[in-house]
């Protein structure tokens, strides 16, 4: 548990220090991310065999206490968060154009801390606070892009607040009904009565709004595509996963089984529609970064589909698929957003058509985009493929579930279509767009790293998939 706390407090302290002490920003932020990463690795090592650790803050016992819990899954998410933060920080230190100003550093540290706290929280109100911190840090980061991002940032903030308040009203109702806030105590007591249903409905809608889950995703494309590249990468890869994690906690730990079984198909249906609607929008948009942002909407659809069906059938394999989607999408999306930023910056245009001839002028970045895209499509042997494989197995076992598999097929085809839409422009030799500035080799190879890591997941797939199934229970 101490390691996990270190992983949380290092970025928190770092963020506060950075606010007060301005020089040496990048160095301090890098150090903080590195410490957090190592601590998270130690935490994962401690609980990898499936044990759980608790910390009762201030020594109070439940139900009064605020409990922090470290599960193998939260340790994995800590590691994932710290790893991506470190990577983005290294990139940002090297490529200042991608961060939109020096205020990036403290805000990124606060974002990291908020996420770490979210993964470790185990009571509803604590989750609310972390969720709000996350939202505020994210909005401030979006606003770094300057004037063009202020409108999207404000919309993001207001909708995010509305989502939080819906969630908070749900929390109030649950507390009024049961008198506890601890997730696991609630899970033991909860019954399927009207206040519980109402509270779960409010909380689910609020979280779906904050997590940009279809059909409440409308703020996401504008916010993610107008933010600086490094921020977009963090937002798409990590921030939207926070509300998803709470949603998963709610429906698998707190909600009575009976309600979860009823609500499952609704969430799964929203997921399937997200796949189609997000994919379609990505196919139509003329702008590169908004294509990548819509692909996030679509990819979250896979996660929501897995969550809904896991609830409906009470199937642990699907929960494992959910987390694998989260990790694989996070890694691929960091690569993809950074590559998109790099392409945009070097070629000096926002539209997809400016990529003409990019396979010649910027081969490494184009290769990064494709590699990440292959994982998003879910072709073997990428992490996206592992997740999809895990999702498909329970769907295919019974013919009556094949309708859901059809949604996965359509989602795959859509994602292939929008990824290759970009790639095809890269091979266009008709009127190639010359680079405006010299490409940066180190930055290019760095963006490739997470995309390669997604493929690295295949090497440990045989051991990781059963482990994930075990720890999601």
């Amino acid at each position: 548990m101490n390691a996990a706390l270190l992983s949380l407090f290092a970025p928190l302290a770092g963020g506060l220090l950075l606010v007060l002490w301005r020089p040496a920003r990048a160095g301090l932020a890098l150090g903080v991310a590195l410490v957090s990463l190592l601590a998270a690795a130690a935490a994962l090592h401690q609980v990898a065999d499936g044990t759980r650790q608790w910390l009762e803050v201030g020594g109070w016992a439940p139900p009064l206490a605020i409990r922090l819990q470290l599960t193998p899954l939260s340790a994995l998410l800590l590691l994932f968060t710290a790893g991506l933060h470190l990577l983005v920080a290294v990139y940002a230190a090297r490529r200042p154009h991608a961060i939109g100003g020096a205020d990036f550093w403290p805000l990124a540290c606060l974002l990291h801390a908020a996420l770490a706290a979210l993964w470790l929280s185990a009571d509803l109100f604590n989750l609310y606070v972390t969720l709000e911190l996350l939202g505020l840090a994210a909005v401030a980061l979006v606003a770094l892009a300057g004037e063009k991002a202020q409108r999207p940032a404000l919309d993001y903030l207001l909708l995010s607040l509305a989502g939080s308040l819906a969630y908070l009203l749900g929390v109030a109702i649950l507390y009024g009904r049961y008198g506890v806030l601890d997730l696991f105590l609630l899970g033991e007591q909860a019954t399927a009565d009207a206040p519980t249903r109402l509270a779960l409905l409010l909380m689910t809608l609020g979280l779906m709004l904050k997590g940009a889950l279809w059909p409440l995703h409308l703020w996401l494309p504008a916010a993610h595509s107008s933010a600086p590249a490094a921020v977009s990468a963090l937002l798409s890869a990590l921030v939207v996963k926070g509300p998803l994690y709470i949603l998963w906690l709610l429906w698998t730990r707190l909600a009575p089984t009976e309600l979860a079984v009823q609500a499952g198909p609704l969430l799964a249906g929203a997921g399937a529609l997200a796949l189609l609607a997000g994919g379609w929008a990505a196919l139509r948009t003329p702008l590169l970064k908004s294509l990548v942002a819509y692909s996030t909407v679509a990819q979250l659809g896979y996660a929501l589909l897995a969550l809904g069906l896991a609830m409906h059938w009470q199937e642990p394999r699907l929960e494992a698929a959910l987390w694998l989607f989260v990790v694989a999408h996070g890694l691929a999306k960091v690569s993809m957003f950074l590559a998109a930023g790099e392409l945009q910056h070097t070629l000096g245009g926002k539209r997809v058509v400016t990529l003409k001839g990019a396979s010649q002028t910027l081969p490494v970045t184009m290769f990064t985009f494709v590699t990440a895209g292959v994982s998003l499509i879910g072709l073997p042997p990428s992490g996206g493929f592992l997740a999809k494989w895990l999702l498909l197995q329970p769907l295919l076992e019974r013919p009556q579930h094949w309708g859901w598999a059809l949604a996965v097929v359509l989602g795959t085809l859509m994602s292939a279509a929008y990824v290759f839409r970009v790639v095809a422009h890269g091979f266009d030799r008709a009127r190639p767009q010359p680079p405006q500035v010299r490409p940066d080799r180190f930055g290019q190879w760095l963006t490739l790293l997470p995309a390669l890591l997604v493929f690295g997941l295949a090497l440990i797939g045989e051991r990781m998939l059963p482990w994930l199934e075990g720890v999601s229970r």
Binding site: I377, L396, P399, T412, L413, A424, F427, R429, R463
Partner: protein, 498 residues
């Protein structure tokens, strides 16, 4: 790890590693690039020869790496995979030489040869794949690696063709993915084995198995260019000639046909195919494709497109032989895998030579071309006659076995299909031969090789002569054990234990 487990991996890596290195080379590092390419080819030839000897002595080669739970990545060399590996390797050798000559002085050669090597690696990996999941992996990799070659020229036309190609192959790949995942959900993913591994499920999960079969055959049928999934092949002919030759006459379409062989014999097995009544629809589809492809070929006025439709037709002979489910017919289908490869690659090299040397693309421009380019035209004639089925060229052997195989299992109507197709083949190939040799020569404005010693660049001539000779030799030597026919019979002896 012993050498028998590392050899399959080494065979895949012998083209993958040079390919990856080639990507990093600068354009002007011509000599290094050629050396790397040829070194990779030579190494692969040696390794494949070692494996051929091993397999005929009864050794088994198996490499495995953990991947999915219950579905490791398996590369194994058995008799069937070696047929395809050997074919790909020999033709890779010829085509590399051809491509070095063809692409001399054209831009982006490092990229071209890099992807070219990746394609060969994917094809070989697919041939060596020991279970469905591994097969799927290389099948998708092949799609990704061939796309840059189709759009290599970067013109609007080739980009359009590339989109069509991707739409078909990614769609097909998704169907294969679903089929593989469905079979895994039903039966796991054990290694391929003669006679299949689904026997216990036929009673219980019959409908699901049928759906899985349909998914796999439709998905593989895209690459095997079964109708109505053949539309990408004629369009993909905008690619440079070596690509059309190796990939779209041999590697890509053959992976589809080879996959169908694997699915029919090593996943389902003849018994399950009978019990589920799956063979008959496949047979009809193959027969329809044979006739349809030939008819469409007849209508084409462009040489490469005519050859492409001829491929549509000829590749389905393999599927036909497989779907007949009798030992002799399977020998015919398998041997055609090798024979059609040799003959068709010859024809495509010739088409490339005509286009490169004289700027001839359309059929009416071929008048009297035999006087200007006698060697190429001789090779073209050999290939064309072989396709029609004139003895002793390779094509005759395949058709003979397919015909007797059809009689053996009592499907006499297939003979009519074969006969009709042979007539159509004659109808669309003989006029070309006649034009080439006997019509009054046209005036070639674009003769960019006039007055040299040979009729065209020697690097373009050498592979043509080599494969044309090989097409004749494998026909003449069909009776010996080392010929493709001898090997196909070995496969069938192992697949149909009596």
């Amino acid at each position: 790890m012993s050498w028998t487990s590392l050899l399959p991996l080494a065979i895949v890596l012998s083209s993958l590693v040079p390919g990856l290195i080639i990507f990093t080379l600068r354009e002007e590092q011509q000599r290094l690039r050629v050396t790397l390419n040829l070194a990779g080819v030579a190494l692969k030839v040696v390794l494949v020869a070692a494996m051929l000897i091993g397999v005929s002595d009864g050794l088994t080669f198996r490499f495995s790496l953990p991947f999915l739970p219950g579905a490791p990545l398996v590369l194994q060399g058995d008799a069937l995979s070696l047929l395809f590996v050997t074919l790909s390797t020999v033709l890779w050798l010829a085509t590399t030489v051809y491509a070095i000559g063809y692409l001399e002085d054209s831009p982006l050669r490092s990229r071209f040869f890099g992807y070219f090597s990746l394609c060969v690696s994917a094809t070989v990996g697919l041939a060596l794949a020991g279970n469905l999941v591994t097969f799927l992996l290389f099948y998708e990799l092949l799609t990704l690696a061939t796309f840059p070659l189709v759009v290599h020229r970067g013109t609007p036309e080739s980009l359009r063709a590339g989109r069509v190609y991707l739409a078909y192959t990614v769609g097909g790949g998704t169907l294969v993915l679903m089929g593989v995942a469905l079979l895994h959900a039903l039966a796991g993913s054990p290694d391929f084995q003669p006679g299949g591994y689904l026997d216990g499920l036929v009673e219980e999960r019959g409908p699901s198995l049928r759906v899985a079969f349909a998914l796999l055959v439709l998905g593989l049928g895209v690459k095997a260019a079964l109708i109505p999934l053949h539309g990408w092949l004629p369009k993909a002919m905008v690619a440079p000639a070596p690509v059309s030759a190796l990939l779209h006459a041999v590697a890509v379409v053959k992976t589809g046909a080879f996959g169908i062989v694997r699915v029919v014999y090593d996943v389902y097995g003849a018994e399950a195919m009978e019990a589920l009544a799956l063979a008959r629809p496949l047979l009809w589809l193959a027969a329809a494709t044979i006739l349809f492809g030939s008819l469409r070929a007849l209508q084409q006025s462009e040489l490469k497109r005519r050859l492409a439709y001829s491929t549509v037709s000829q590749v389905s002979y393999i599927t036909l032989g497989v779907a007949l489910l009798g030992p002799l017919a399977v020998v015919g289908g398998l041997v055609h895998l090798a024979h059609q490869g040799l003959m068709k690659v010859t024809l495509f090299y010739c088409a490339g030579n005509f286009a490169e040397t004289l700027g001839v693309h359309r059929i009416r421009e071929m008048n009297g071309i035999g006087r200007r380019m006698p060697l190429t035209m001789t090779a073209f004639t050999v290939g064309a006659l072989g396709m029609i089925g004139v003895p002793p060229i390779a094509g005759f052997i395949s058709k003979w076995y397919l015909g007797s195989g059809a009689l053996e299992v009592g499907q006499d109507w297939v003979l009519l299909v074969l006969l009709g197709s042979a007539l159509l083949n004659a109808a669309y190939f003989l006029p070309l031969v006649w034009r080439g040799w006997f019509a009054t020569p046209a005036d070639w404005h674009a003769d960019n090789w006039a007055g040299e010693r040979w009729e065209t660049h020697w690097l373009l001539l050498l592979p043509v002569v080599f494969t044309a000779l090989a097409s004749v030799l494998v026909g003449i030597l069909a009776g010996t054990a080392i010929s493709p026919l001898g090997w196909a019979r070995l496969i069938v002896d192992r697949e149909f234990p009596r």
